[in-house]
Symmetry: C2
Subunit: 353 residues, 2 copies
DNA sequence: AAAGCATACTAAACCGATTTATTGGCTGTG
DNA sequence: CACAGCCAATAAATCGGTTTAGTATGCTTT
């Protein structure tokens, strides 16, 4: 049974800013590094070490405030307990909500994560996954970003829509989302509906527009091309929605409702409509998409199709960790579909007669 | 002069998912790891290696797509090029803007960062800095968070207000901020002004309130305690501002202007005032704080005291990296003050007579 | 008394880099 | 011809852990 050396070493070490290493801890205990490591990690190999000694080791570790160097451990174990998150931009409502869901699950499981934002620059979208892999992340989550190269590590995409080998896509049921919004508007009597499509680079743009066209057709609503605008520019400000709505108004085509690509653009659209003298929802009803935090606190409060963004983030993290734990050749889900919800607030109303 | 072995090894390695290590690269080249490392890193030690060989090494590295393992490098060099960012929560507003500024500067300098959010739970505020240090971060940025223990690594606090040894505080000039807002309101003729204070846990609450009281006194405005409310609860939703404003209204004390703790609560306040039949700004003027993205797109657009949050994030990152680069005993700034700006929009107007 | 077995550990390899000290060959010089 | 000095590298230590294989000791069993 080992006995710790005099308390002096302990105190001096505590006083000095020196970090305690396994080596110094083992020396202080008069044991080998191996023994200490086994006990600290509660490895199966520690079962031959008497409880008395184990207790001594743990106590010394506590007193010396020993904290294993995570880098060294990761290197040896080939496990970093770290993942990478790639987002277009951090300051935006969308990404922030998804990230907060991701974080929730990850930290709970002892994982940390790196965030990088590419701001839609292609070379960064290429480079960041490589840089992250160089930093030994065990998996990637891409938010609203089309990762190009097949990754050698598990990858979960939130709102990605490409079928890439090795990727799990977490996607909204866009057909249902479009139907919810369009049914809501048609039930209110709207027939002349304007639309704002997303930017070309947004991974949701194509599928969402496709879904809207289907839903419109199913409901017998004709889409007038001159009542369809598209967001342009990389900023995530309502200004984009404002500008495109100005154009829609200027085109002179009458519409009684507008279905925007997202809440941000819906907010800009409302501003533009109001400046043109249209009251919301008396003259024009507006439906947003996403249900970001501030949607509920617009004036009028925004009717919107809610994406469960936080849940999607949690789901992404959960799925990723499951894939990391599974053997590399194991099967994995190609797609996970989540359901939208229509949140009826005050920006929609009966169509004017 | 070494000559690479046959191309077969190259192709097979490229085909296999095996990551290329320094060892395998050196073997392939018929050189030692040391030589390859020196060349790849352009170390001074590489100057004795002929350019011809250097070129061969670099070319092989490119072809085999060699990427040094960052963990191993960090371990050896005792530098991780990683910092930790501690925020209360990853939300749309405050923290996201600061983070985006931090990111801007960090990634540019080759640093990555971990984010953790503590949601105001004390044990997490205690634990996360330790966990981050275990992961060998070289410095910490704390956003709106009072880090308790003195850290062994450089620490920059955004809106921290404690004088802790080892900490650089990035703070707003609160005196000026309060003066800007109060002068604006008094010039518009307001005398009966209500206030919403921040939650107890927010590190800005105390100093901002102190500044407001000073500014009020200097301008000859009396503060009526029954016209002062305080945010309660941990959520970052406008609901908190809504609730406290309801109470203020219920108390029956008349006021013609309201200065909220932040934009989020101002938005809730406007909702509450409107429900009580007050028009903004005809009956009541409202001033927010922060200038978050959606402030400009409220209806009416919010007059607010702008904090340069993105710039504060960038400044924090810049300061931190400078401190990391400096020798440990070097002097460092205890406080860096940034200036607010009054953004006049449509939620304030002349006081009703 | 030899073999078998559990107990209580330890030595040493290993993860993948960086970095210091050293080596062997060659050329030029006193 | 011995010696210094340069060139072109290399061997080996190191970072701080984890993990495998092994060893010394004592006790029981045949």
């Amino acid at each position: 049974m080992p006995r710790p050396k005099s308390g002096t070493a302990l105190r001096s070490r505590k006083a000095s800013g020196q970090r305690v290493s396994l080596k110094s801890l083992a020396e202080h205990l008069g044991l080998s590094q191996a023994a200490v490591s086994l006990v600290i990690n509660r490895s199966p190999g520690a079962k031959s070490i008497p409880l008395r000694t184990q207790e001594l080791i743990r106590q010394a570790a506590r007193e010396l405030n020993y904290r294993p160097n995570h880098l060294a451990r990761s290197l040896r174990q080939q496990r970093s307990y770290t993942i990478g998150v790639v987002v277009p931009e951090i300051s935006e409502g969308y990404a922030a909500l998804v990230m907060s869901g991701i974080e929730d699950h990850l930290l709970q499981e002892g994982y940390f994560y790196f965030v990088v934002s590419h701001r839609h620059r292609d070379e960064l979208i290429e480079e960041y996954p490589l840089l992250l892999q160089q930093r030994a992340v065990e998996g990637l989550i891409a938010v609203d970003t089309a990762i190009t190269g097949a990754a050698q590590i598990p990858l979960v995409a939130v709102s990605g829509h490409r079928e890439v080998p090795g990727v799990t896509n977490i996607v909204l049921d866009h057909a249902r989302a479009a139907t919810l919004a369009m049914e809501h508007l048609t039930k209110l009597g709207h027939r002349q509906i304007a639309f704002i499509k997303g930017q070309e680079f947004s991974s949701d743009t194509a599928i969402r527009w496709e879904s809207v066209r289907h839903a419109a057709q199913a409901l017998g609503v004709k889409i007038n091309d001159r009542q369809v605008g598209q967001l342009e520019g990389e900023s995530s400000s309502p200004v984009l929605g404002y500008q495109v709505t100005k154009k829609l108004i200027a085109s002179g085509e009458a519409f009684t409702a507008l279905f925007a690509f997202n809440d941000i653009s819906a907010i800009g659209a409302i501003q533009a409509l109001r400046e043109a003298g249209r009251q919301i929802p008396r003259d024009v009803s507006v439906v947003g998409f996403d249900d970001i935090q501030s949607a509920a606190f617009q004036n009028p409060a925004l009717t919107t199709v809610r994406q469960p963004l936080r849940e999607m983030g949690m789901l992404a993290a959960e799925t990723l960790l499951r894939r990391i734990a599974a053997p590399p050749e194991a099967d994995y889900p190609k797609e996970i579909v989540v359901q939208p919800e229509l949140i009826c607030r005050a920006s929609t109303g009966a169509a004017p007669r």
